[in-house]
Symmetry: C2
Subunit: 339 residues, 2 copies
């Protein structure tokens, strides 16, 4: 049975979502969870949920908490016994096979990189986001914010990481990988995508289909969208903002007449169902890929369902040894280019 | 009365939208239109609409048409009597005060830049998009695709152009201008936004409010969003794709049960109303700013309403001498920096 270390002090209203998510995970999945954080607070929350001591769940004390408003760099250096750091050490030492945190994203990224180290052949870890698409399949976008200035080689490594994610978690055979640009033709794009286009074509084991546009992210035309972390983050947050605004505008319009109010009332199940389909919490969180070890970063606003799904994804990555998959692919590629 | 030259051979199903849009414009706005294109085809379409010869509308023959699939550079060099080129010459020669085209975007940009020339102080023209926001105001995003690799100085010039657009067309006093980045704090961003942050702060007459995120584009937090053309194009097309997909997913869900079907039926006016609010054709098109002259580029799929609104915006820009506004602002800024 795999063990996942869960930072219990990360979510905006920690440790409730982490504790409930962990309980849901151990009762519904074949997984053991170590909750890492201030022991008394975590145990108190666990006790509110009854007889947890028979479940495959344990608590590991960590005396410090990195806050959302802490500077990531400073917090990582100063708080050596933070719940994030202790969770990462459990993975490094083989006690756990993956970690999950809804804490300060910058601090989680820096800590995981420092404690776990990079997988062989990886220059920089990347954050991968998952999206629902019209085709019904889920698409992966990588990088969504870890690296703001990228080289063509980094984008090629992101393609390998995203390909592994799509295979392992979304069960896609031979996933289609596209490069995010501003037109489909090879010559469309900026200096980075032009360079990356040439490098991506040298990835023999990746089903690289060329440029894709922003509008293709949600159609399911490709399974993996590769981009630098600045562009990916803008696309992700633009999408979040737009979904919010469209929802609010529709509600506003639907409440204007009694007829449309009745319509909205009758249609509410469809709305709820739809919302579930685009609900980020179904995706659990964003994996930080390219490390020697599994790390899933959750939204600060994560609910128990999001934490449970992050644990599910962490255990899926660990079971499929995603770090080894990525390292093997990148080593093959590097030797092919050298040879 | 101002005169706008309309390329009649640009839209996917030209010249119908151009002719109908021009007729709508001259009958509802205080404007004269010159339709530029193959005379027989344009006159034939005009004749289908009855007695147009009494209206302030005329036809100027152009023997060549640049197609959507033509390479922009080649077409501009080879087709010296294209409808785009003839329309631009009418503006350059003062016969018209602005031009509108739904043709090949690359060819329109290259032709307008070549024939009209750059406004004083401008390094590169930029394409501006307009968006509805939750606040009810319209926001401007600039650049949405004209320049894929930008310098900090170019972003500062885009800020000046976007500010002028927001004042002239959306009647915003002292528009709030934000720099699109991946976090609000000044230090968040990539190499370009860091450099641009410093330069934007030197624009004394611009109400620069710092970084904004993708999610802020649609909230109305700022009136102008400044970014390089690669990022802007990705944000724009991601939004278009997402709105399409959300609409399709909602329709799919709403048709699943008879109860939600009834709900959708009753709510349809609200949907129609909402769709109008986010309808790009209300914005007419994307102005190419920074030229000595007014040029509005419309979507190939433009309907007559989009063409009419583009004519309205072109005439608004011309009446307010937007090119002079931009040149004056940039000259002041340059002398302030030199002094």
């Amino acid at each position: 049975m795999l063990t996942i270390a869960v930072d219990a002090m990360g979510a905006d209203d920690f440790p409730r979502p982490e504790v409930e998510g962990a309980l849901q995970a151990v009762t519904s999945l074949d997984v053991r969870v170590i909750l890492v954080g201030k022991e008394d607070a975590v145990v108190e929350e666990l006790d509110r949920h009854g007889r947890w001591r028979q479940l495959p769940i344990e608590v590991r004390h960590a005396s410090e908490v990195i806050k959302m408003e802490d500077s990531a760099g400073k917090a990582v250096r100063a708080k050596k016994d933070s719940s994030i750091r202790v969770a990462a050490r459990l993975v490094r030492d083989g006690v756990a096979q993956g970690m999950v945190s809804a804490g300060n994203t910058g601090a989680v990224m820096a800590t995981a990189k420092m404690v776990l180290g990079l997988a062989h052949g990886v220059d920089r870890p990347a954050l991968a986001g998952a999206f629902p698409t019209l085709s019904g399949n889920s698409a992966v976008m990588i990088d969504v914010g870890a690296n703001v200035d990228c080289s063509a080689n980094m984008l090629a490594q992101f393609a390998v990481m995203g390909d592994a994610y799509s295979r392992v978690i979304f069960d896609r055979k031979n996933p289609k990988v596209g490069l995010l640009s501003i037109g489909e033709e090879d010559h469309k794009g900026n200096a980075l995508t032009h360079d990356a286009m040439a490098v991506l074509k040298t990835l023999k084991h990746i089903n690289f289909v060329g440029n894709v546009e922003g509008r293709d992210i949600y159609t399911g035309k490709v399974d993996v969208v590769v981009c630098d972390g600045f562009v990916g983050n803008v696309a992700l947050k633009t999408s979040e903002g737009l979904v919010d605004v469209v929802g609010k505008m529709l509600r506003e319009h639907l409440s204007q007449t009694s007829r449309s109010k009745l319509g909205a009332f009758l249609a509410r199940d469809a709305f709820a169902d739809f919302k579930k389909r685009v609900d980020y919490s179904e995706y659990g969180g964003a994996p930080l890929l390219g490390l020697k070890g599994v790390c899933i970063i959750c939204h600060g606003r994560s609910n128990p369902n999001a934490i449970k799904n992050a644990i599910r994804i962490a255990s899926g990555f660990a079971a499929n040894k995603i770090s080894d998959l990525i390292a093997t692919e990148l080593t093959d590629w590097a030797s092919g280019r050298a040879g």
